[in-house]
């Protein structure tokens, strides 16, 4: 079926099988491999993207139903531009080891702050619990979210 995807401020016309999930359309059709496929079963959060600012799992979202503005990790800062404050905070806080879950962590963290769920360490842990990190960088991830939260508030 013919569909339109709005990704990172670009419009794409695609022809896909109805079964194709947004995750696979991003990675395999559009070449946006920043969004990661972890469990492909809605459990790990590696595939988290934003649709109209709302964090969702792209492995459980049909490409054909993905209406709205989709933001992936590639859309946070352009080539040669400074990193998004959340990306910069993850780098500065060393909030990863292997890095595989990191794009999903960062997308989720941006939404976590925007939702107003980053007001304490406990709340950050609770509202970031949908993103698993098998390297267990969790303490640093909490620090990164705390570091970026006020900067995101300033950006509005």
């Amino acid at each position: 079926m013919d569909i339109t995807l709005n990704v990172n401020s670009h419009t794409h016309q695609l022809s896909v099988d109805p079964r194709v999930m947004l995750l696979d359309a991003l990675r395999e059709v559009l070449g946006l491999t920043g969004t990661k496929k972890g469990c492909d079963q809605g459990q790990c959060g590696a595939c988290t993207v934003l649709i109209d600012g709302r964090r969702v799992l792209s492995c459980f979202t049909l490409a054909a139903r993905a209406e709205g503005e989709i933001t992936t990790i590639e859309g946070l800062s352009g080539e040669g531009e400074p990193l998004h404050p959340m990306q910069a905070a993850f780098v500065e806080q060393d909030a990863y080891q292997c890095g595989y879950c990191t794009p999903g962590q960062i997308m989720s963290a941006i939404a976590c702050v925007a939702e107003g769920h980053a007001t304490s360490d406990d709340e950050i842990r609770e509202y970031m619990s949908g993103n698993l990190c098998r390297c267990a960088a969790y303490p640093k991830i909490v620090e990164a979210v705390k570091q970026a939260a006020p900067q995101l508030a300033e950006r509005g």
Partner: protein
Amino acid sequence: MREFVLERAGTSVEAIGLGAAPTSADAHARSSTQYLAGGTTLFDLMKLQVMNPERLVDISDLRAEHGRIEDLEDGLWLGALVRMSEAEENSSVRQDYPVIRDALWQAASPQLRNMATLGGNVLQRTRCNYFRDTTYHACNKREPGTGCAAMEGCNRRLAVLGTSDACIANYPGDLAVALVALGAEVQLLSVDGRERVLPFEELHRLPGDTPHIETSLVPGDLITGFKVPAGPWTRRSAYVKVRDRASYDFALASAAVALDLEGDTVRAVRIGLGGLAARPWRTHAAEAALVGRSLDEASAREAAEAALAGAVAHGELAFKIELGRRTVVRALLETQAMELPA
């Protein structure tokens, strides 16, 4: 995932027209046509090939009709297409029905709650490993008449209440436990266009000899929303969830409690149990044990004994009976201790 045809309904009338496709299915969840809302259970089970519908009817456009939360004179209306995260943040839910808020924020993950709808969430299917893993032949819920591999298998997460010789799967959700405790009603639209109202307690069925028939919905039935009746117990209400992980896990045991107190004397109480039972479980026996009595650790413990009185533990499940009792006691005492806003 098997091939399917994707259709899209603009209105609930269109949806039931598409949902009324000829089917020989013996259960709502086994119909070859399935409604698609958040997709978080459906795609999970379709990827596992536990569910293999041939046709999906996308009902996300029904948010315009059935996507609202409304304060009613005599209760709260929750539209079926409201997302879990929206209900969790709703001011009426937070203030007047905190047990619903607590059940929601402790469910799934923020991403899943941003996708899943209330109507779909209450129809979430069991997490029993033998149901989810098609390499196991024996599952009466997945394939009627094949047996139950869980009976002698890894079963510590399954049910101790309401089970049968055919199935010991538990109902995994949280919201439904709050709704069953509060005596909610389910509003339905049948394929013939008729509106029906069902007590929430009658939405899910006990497994008996037919664990593959999980609800009293018939193929094509569309949930349009839930009415939660008002009562002096709704503001003093809470949901206690006990699980292996601190967050993002299913309940081993949970309890939804709503209390109307005069001093420490119980005027009215509603108690629902989760994680422990074959369906969202309201325990009228435990409620009856408390009415008119002073609520303290001893009377709470008596109520908890009554709540788990009929429990049967297979295999690894013995711990759940005492865990269930303690969860009820803790939920009652924590709800009693709640400080209510003036």
